[in-house]
Amino acid sequence: MSRNVAVVGIGHSRFGRRTDVNIAELAFESIKQALEDAGIDRKDVGFVTVGSAGGWYEEALPAVVINEYSGFKSVGTMRVEAACASGSAAVKVARDMIASGETDIALAVGVEKMSEVDTLTSVELIGRAGSYMWEFENYGMTFPAYYALYAVAHMNRFGTTTEDLARVAVKAHKYGAMNPLAQFQRDITVEKVLTSQVVAWPLKLYDSCPLTDGSAAVVLASEEVARKLTDTPIWIRGIGYSSDSANLSKRDDYIGLRASVEAAQRAYSSSKVGPEKIDVATCHDCFTIAEIMAYEDLGFCRKGEGATLIREGQTEIGGKIPVNLDGGLKAKGHPIGATGVSMIVEITKQLRNEAGRRQASIKNGFGLAHNVGGTGHYAYVTILSRDAT
């Protein structure tokens, strides 16, 4: 990569059940904010990437529908798909377009609208995200069921308990309650999680992220342009990525996500920092077990010790590594394609010291966004920093 790239504008819609807007109107909320935050107009943007998994809303070509509504003309564009990591993938494509010298300013949008079909149809569409032929057609896998397979193996191997899982949800809701854009803004208790409906044993309703409508957008710029636009550019220092088998039956084990481990290693290596330097992180907590595995896979603790971090409160503000201070996927909501971009927005806010009541203490100037697609089918880890080098 030849050129440094910074986040110079951020936008984020309210997450939740957004029956008040269609897909383009929802994306526009974030796009307008991001452009205004960057102090640029649409003609300045060389390329628009749109992260969206799609299938649960009416438009088949979201990128062009959104660009038309937002008033872009003749802009280069594409929809980017990496399941729940589509947003991070959209950011990566936009970053690469600038780093390569192709364009100076690019916009990455993440958007999903999941409430236009009924709940069980959404369950079906996500359940098909893996190997349809071998794991859905005859066996009806669901998103919580995929992660439940990991939860059972992790609990069996390391003694992780359902209470440990519940603590992750409690923490998510604690910070979600401080985030006015979050889908759920109320505290919950361990008891409430443990007595909620089982969706895929041992995972319960409150171990699971909700179905969400939402959008997020970031304006990225080359170093030369970024320094003209803002005094507080937040630099993309490295993006690591990997993938794993479509069939869960082909995984090495069920106690962690290999794709996350490899994406993190690549991100740390390209950023030249290690996990000990990260001040704040967003981890992909689509289910509570996923956050515990993420602590381990990202190197915030050793394998098998993820539950200890949550028990000791080490991933809260003031702890060793604060995680998901925006409420995470669990409380903020998980609009599939928007999530990765939302994470970059959150880390940018944290590094700019703009997170208000839920602000982490920034000592080293590094933040990390960990975004998983499917059940470790894809993984992207993005490291951001206050300094360009």
Binding site: V123, N138, G140, T142, P144, V152, A200
Partner: protein, 146 residues
Amino acid sequence: MSSDPVLHSRRSLTLRFDIPISHTREFWDGLKEGKFLVTRCKKCGNISFPPQSDCPRCMSNEHEWVELKREGKLLTYTLVQVTPASFVDNDPYIVAIAEFQGGIKILAWLEGAKLDKIGPGIQVRLETRVSKEGNPYYVFTLPQSL
């Protein structure tokens, strides 16, 4: 529920796929005859499940079909309580991953099991089935003693 006005679309879309299985026909036909076949690469010896006519290790398309031993070890499992739209008529089902000879792992339903009677490490058996619509599939079952 929200009271926002929505346009309830007049057009609905049903997707039903005709999935080609000519390259794995032996597998599906085998299931109907009670056999569980996997592919073995003639060039490098790699065994694949799911079966595939092109070897993912050496990329050779020369393969043969071999029977897999039916005894396996349970690795992990879940009880799917909230089922997808197309499975709403099913009772909750246990989905498991078990490991077989040569490290081959398979995901399937575990039939006739109760959650409190099973755990990782127990022995399971791979059985072939044909659905009432005539589609072959396979499941895990428990030894009689469980």
